[in-house]
Symmetry: C2
Subunit: 149 residues, 2 copies
């Protein structure tokens, strides 16, 4: 998404497209790996030396309020953000911590007990081992048992 298009998207939500805001949104579009506030800040401060981390917090809160961005549910204590609003699942590897996206169609999942609830968003978080860590885990087991060397 081009910078100009991002600016227009912000204007539609009555958000003035200041440079920090444009860059935060652009960063989220380019880095789909659910960055933390600190990751966003450390990257952007390189080109905006006076950038304050508070600005990143404010901006993300503003975007989330406007529905442009989602804070993804995670079992960690640190917030992660995602510019992709459509419902999809996240898989967190318990070994390496990486957050993966996956596709999940919830229409067919039967829900009970939500009559009269107004559902605004759905977060799906799976946890376990990603393929890489799973393999290295197996190797490690073999080594520990004397299988290698």
């Amino acid at each position: 998404m081009k910078r100009k298009a991002i600016g227009e998207q912000l204007l539609q939500k009555d958000i003035r497209p200041s440079f920090p805001r444009l860059r935060v949104m652009e960063y989220l579009f380019k880095n789909r790996n659910h960055p933390t506030v600190d990751e966003i800040y450390r990257e952007l401060v390189q080109e905006m030396p006076t950038l304050s981390k508070t600005t990143v917090y404010n901006t993300l809160a503003l975007f989330e309020e406007a529905g442009l961005v989602r804070r993804v549910a995670s079992s960690e204590n640190e917030a992660r953000y995602d510019a992709f609003i459509e419902d999809h699942g996240h898989f967190r590897c318990e070994s390496c911590g990486v957050l993966y996206d996956f596709t999940i169609r919830l229409e067919k999942a039967e829900e009970e007990g939500l009559d009269n609830f107004e559902i605004r968003k759905r977060d799906i978080l799976y946890q376990g081992l990603c393929p890489r860590c799973r393999n290295s885990g197996i190797k490690k087991l073999i080594i520990d048992k004397g299988g290698y060397r």
Copy 2:
């Protein structure tokens, strides 16, 4: 679940059933409302005046490690715990903050992109408005528009 049964459950996992541990687990069984560490502590310290909050943290970490308890995914920064391990969904009301349980059958939800991943747990978190807050919200709107009074 009786205290004795809880003790046996702990022993099965090689966890010595000390009094603080028994009481933390018992609290979780009796209070199915996904309490925070602070809520557990404030309740139990009344009967165990020397209880330390660190003990509550340690105990919950131990239980989670043993698979007896789950930390539920939430969009807040504060951890919440649940003694019910079977997969079920949580609904968080964005207005009052209450966390509700609901039933969801994920077997029928189609997943793509998780080949070779080892899934150990699934967290489902919906957010929106609970029936009560939804109603009071509607009333508020009517009042604001001059519908009442």
